[in-house]
């Protein structure tokens, strides 16, 4: 059994972070120079952490599998970033942002972490503006805000529809500066394939160079993983094609606990799947729901074109079910409702997996020009992808996997149960509970990288002597390199019949069918029968063309799919064990009038799974969630 000590500082909630910073150990500048920190990933969390640690004087080595540290999928975030600045004077505060986030997460996040997140949100905006992030401004030259994701205050800062891109480029520029100064060594085209654990501490990684195929060992006093989420386990998602679980999965297999893998967020407004060949789902901004009305035909199997279906034969199901929130119901609720009507055979489009998002009323009310002004670029994207004009015919949308709240377990210092292993951003589990609010992912990534880790990592490093850092010829390094090499060799030599892509598709279908928007014990048990079979077939019937000593994208994909299959099993197991519904995890057995029914008696805790071997049941460790300041309540949107 792993020991999970959350290390939450004592004292009143509002003072914990200040106090903790004061009590944290400092490293003197001369010693900082001697400490070497490995950072994997250069998205918002990894990029900002690498830059900031280097500014503090640590030696940093940054690894990305991309060709450049500017490509991470943080770049695709559209909406914005929340911060409790209260520039709009509309009653926002750190406490309100904290409370909204905890409630949005369906009371499954750690109170102290979320409060800290709300506190540092304020500094993030200052930092980014100083870096030259071109946030939207008012004519007076001050920053503009909008309300987002159903929040009652306007606290979202944005840069057109490309906030993630601009924030990432800000972090990338800070990182680039440190690379230019020689304080960070940047290794691109470098995929982490194993974590090296020496005497129980994370001390290095094994990396494959994707250009040359060379496998190398890298040692550090601490290892920081900021490698993003694992939503591509579903194959089709709004994630980048390259997003993967490999880094955190292999850390899990080396002893780090994986917490709450079943918390996955499904976003309601994506462009539906159009065919079997599809590789990627595209998100349409949530803001469309402000003016669009969602409906399906009342009659199952109604194949008429939308214009031919009279008003009386349409079911505006969100307005019907949730009269007060209507089309603006939160993400998880809107997604489940869409699935329900499609399951009833009332879905639209060729595949029957889609619902209409209709702007005709809004166009009649406001005129086409107004709609074009508000959503023109989104309508253009929609047209580009589907070749349909949403001005003439309703958009078709369907939910898609968008974010994963689960991840490696970390304590208040963002350190996992493996000493020396730190996990940031979407890769950890800490701040969003069972559901993430819009515009909060960017906030968490940057909070972790710019402000939290640089302050807490000293607590670990103070206990480590850089001159006693293990050498790369240590047995643990040899062993890790050997196991990486043999996995690569095995994948290349099997010479079976199926490609990794075909396994990925099958895996995605199993997970989407049995562990998607609505889960049942029967379905999950079925998935837990199918997945081990899939894993076995993968390891006996895989075909990977090419060889190991050059760029080989099939090999990269095979390794990632292998990990996704194993993760799929854990995800289903976690979903089966959590016999309640909360946020992104909906168990059909646990509902009240179609809404999530939490079981705070039995499940007010984080489940942190501990690896025991492939195909063996992992150990479920539990960290109870204790709320000192707030009371758990039921979310209702009727």
């Amino acid at each position: 059994m792993a020991t999970l000590n959350s290390n939450i500082p004592a004292g009143p909630l509002g003072q914990k972070w200040q106090k903790h910073k004061f009590n944290s150990k400092l490293i003197n500048p001369a010693n900082k120079r001697k400490h070497k920190i490995i950072v994997v990933g250069a998205g918002l969390a990894g990029g900002s952490a690498s830059a900031t640690l280097a500014e503090l004087g640590y030696q940093v080595e940054n690894f990305v599998f991309h060709d450049s540290p500017r490509r991470a999928h943080s770049i695709a975030a559209q909406g914005g970033i929340n911060a409790a600045k209260n520039y709009q004077n509309d009653g926002d505060s750190v406490f309100r942002l904290f409370y909204d986030t905890i409630k949005g997460g369906d009371f499954r996040a750690r109170e102290a972490n979320v409060h800290r997140l709300a506190e540092v949100s304020v500094n993030i905006i200052d930092q980014c503006a100083a870096q030259g992030v071109p946030f939207a401004r008012e004519y007076g030259g001050l920053l503009d805000n909008r309300s987002f994701g159903g929040a009652q205050v306007s606290r979202t800062f944005y840069a057109r529809g490309q906030t993630g891109q601009q924030l990432l480029l800000g972090a990338y520029s800070a990182l680039s500066r440190q690379i230019g100064l020689g304080a960070v060594t940047s290794r691109t085209h470098s995929e982490m394939l194993d974590l090296v654990v020496v005497d129980g501490h994370a001390k290095g990684i094994i990396v494959r160079n994707l250009k040359t195929g060379e496998i190398t060992r890298h040692v550090g006093d601490a290892v920081v993983l900021a490698t993003g989420g694992y939503g591509n386990v579903f194959n089709l998602s709004t994630y980048a094609r390259g997003s993967n679980v490999t880094a955190i999965w292999r850390a899990y297999k080396r002893g780090a606990c994986f917490a709450n893998p079943c918390y996955t967020q499904i976003h309601p407004t994506c462009i539906p799947v159009s065919g079997d060949y599809q590789s990627k789902l595209t998100l349409m901004s949530e803001s469309l729901r402000n003016d669009g009305r969602i409906w399906v035909p009342k009659k199952p199997g109604d194949r008429r074109s939308p214009q031919d279906i009279p008003e009386l034969e349409r079911d505006y199901y969100l307005e019907r079910k949730y009269p007060s929130f209507g089309n603006l119901a939160p993400r998880d609720i809107a997604s489940r409702a869409a699935k329900q009507v499609c399951d009833e055979g009332r879905g639209v489009g060729e595949t029957g997996l889609g619902v209409y998002l209709d702007f005709s009323d809004a166009i009649q009310r406001l005129g086409e020009d107004k709609i074009r002004e508000r959503y023109g670029n989104l309508f253009d994207i929609y047209h580009e992808i589907t070749n349909e004009s949403a001005y003439r015919t309703p958009m078709r949308i369907y939910p898609a996997v968008h974010y994963t709240m689960g991840g490696l377990w970390v304590d208040y210092n963002l350190m996992s149960n493996l000493p020396g292993l730190f996990v940031l951003g979407e890769a950890n589990f800490s701040d969003h509970g069972a559901n993430r609010l819009g515009a909060s992912a960017l906030m968490q990534g940057l909070a972790d990288g710019y402000f939290v880790l640089p302050a807490t990592i000293g607590n670990y490093l103070a206990t480590q002597k850089p001159d006693q850092r293990p050498k790369t010829d240590h047995a643990a390094f040899k062993d890790a390199e050997h196991s990486t090499q043999s996995m690569v060799d095995r994948m290349l030599s099997m010479n079976g019949k199926r490609t990794a892509a075909s396994f990925h598709k099958e895996l995605g279908k199993i997970l989407w069918d049995y562990c998607g928007m609505a889960r049942t014990a029967t379905g999950l048990k079925k998935a837990l029968e199918l997945l081990p079979e899939l894993r076995e077939e993968f390891w006996s019937n895989l075909r990977t063309p090419g060889n190991a000593s050059e760029m080989n994208q099939s090999l990269e994909q095979a390794g990632r799919v292998a990990d996704f299959i194993e993760l799929g099993e854990l995800l289903c197991l976690d979903a089966l064990t959590r016999e309640e519904s909360c946020g992104g995890h909906f168990r059909e057995e646990h509902q009240e009038d179609g809404e999530c029914k939490r079981d705070d008696e039995r499940f007010a805790h984080a489940a942190a799974w501990e690896f025991t071997g492939v195909g063996k049941t992992p150990v479920r460790n539990v960290e109870p969630l204790v709320y000192d300041e707030i009371k758990m309540a039921t979310r209702s949107y009727k």
Binding site: A51, T52, E55, H66, D67, S68, R70, R71, I75, A76, Y87, N123, D126, Q127, C128, A129, A130, Q131, G132, P134, F135, R137, E138, Y139, G141, Q162, Q165, L169, A174, S176, R177, I179, G180, L181, G182, A183, A240, R241, G242, S274, G275, Y277, Q278, S279, K280, L283, E384, T386, N387, Y450, F451, P454, T499, A501, P545, G546, E550, M551, Q553, S554
Partner: protein, 259 residues
């Protein structure tokens, strides 16, 4: 629909490359260009051949990873979109499509259609930033920025760093890329203290990386997925002239504090 692909295949930078012709399996016209390549690759792998290596990631036009020159045009036939947002309905059934990597000396080829664009990173590392330590920033609203400047800065900042500008330019010039960053930071009050040294340092690195010069043909702007304007090049030229007259050194001194 089906198309015939003429694709550049090259094992690595050292070995010689050449065009190979492939007839695709049956396609759906709603496929993206990259999904078409996925299908071709599955087909190749099924027949025991090595799939075509190509760069891609987000597949929604923002990460800047995808490249490809399709029928002589970087990012394909349509303006203002990247290759990943190009759909097969833009091509005719039975058409022959020529697919090549980005060609430029500073973008050495890695394999097939994949090139190495690290030269762009080195340009940014030489000066494409505002030097601000984490934690030292003043309140964000203490520095107002006129909306018109901030909007123009955003126009420049949209650059996704894909390198299509270089690929399209007959001189393989990186001026559009460099000028977008120089203008983005130079338009904001936060970027003023380093404005002169930034432009000098970045242009010096750009030249050292081996990019060509700008002969104002406008090809870069025509293929830019974010439609970044040629006017930013003029803006950078002016900044450069000012910095030169002021006697700004050609590169940032590495001895400067920070590490």
């Amino acid at each position: 629909m089906k198309v015939r692909l003429k694709v550049w295949r090259q094992k690595n930078a050292e070995s010689p490359g050449g065009f190979e012709t492939y007839d695709t399996p049956d396609l759906n016209s709603n496929m993206s260009f990259l999904e078409m390549l996925d299908v071709v690759n599955e087909d190749l792998a099924g027949r025991g051949q090595e799939p075509i290596a190509f760069d891609h990631d987000c597949r929604e036009g923002i990460c800047g990873t995808c490249s490809l020159v399709i029928n002589g045009k970087p990012h394909g036939p349509h303006r203002k979109v990247a290759t990943c947002q190009t759909y097969m309905r833009s091509f005719k059934d039975g058409e022959t499509i020529v697919v090549e990597p980005f060609r430029a000396k500073p973008f050495p080829l890695i394999r097939d259609l994949v090139v190495d664009r690290k030269s762009f990173d080195r340009i940014i590392q030489s000066g494409g930033f505002i030097s601000v330590r984490t934690g030292s920033a003043p309140d964000a609203n203490s520095t107002p920025v006129p909306k018109i400047h901030s909007d123009l800065a955003m126009d420049a900042a949209q650059c996704i760093g894909c390198g299509a500008c270089v690929a399209a330019c007959k001189n393989a010039s990186a001026m559009l890329f460099v000028s977008a960053k120089v203008s983005h930071l130079g338009l904001l009050p936060q970027g003023q203290p380093e404005r002169d040294r930034r432009v000098m340092a970045m242009v010096t690195t750009m030249d050292e990386e081996g990019f060509g010069s700008c002969t104002v043909t406008g090809s870069c702007e025509a293929v830019c997925p974010k439609a970044i304007s040629l006017d930013f090049i003029a803006r950078m030229n002016r900044d450069y002239g000012v910095a030169l007259i002021k006697g700004e050194p050609r590169r940032n001194q590495a001895s400067e504090g920070g590490a």
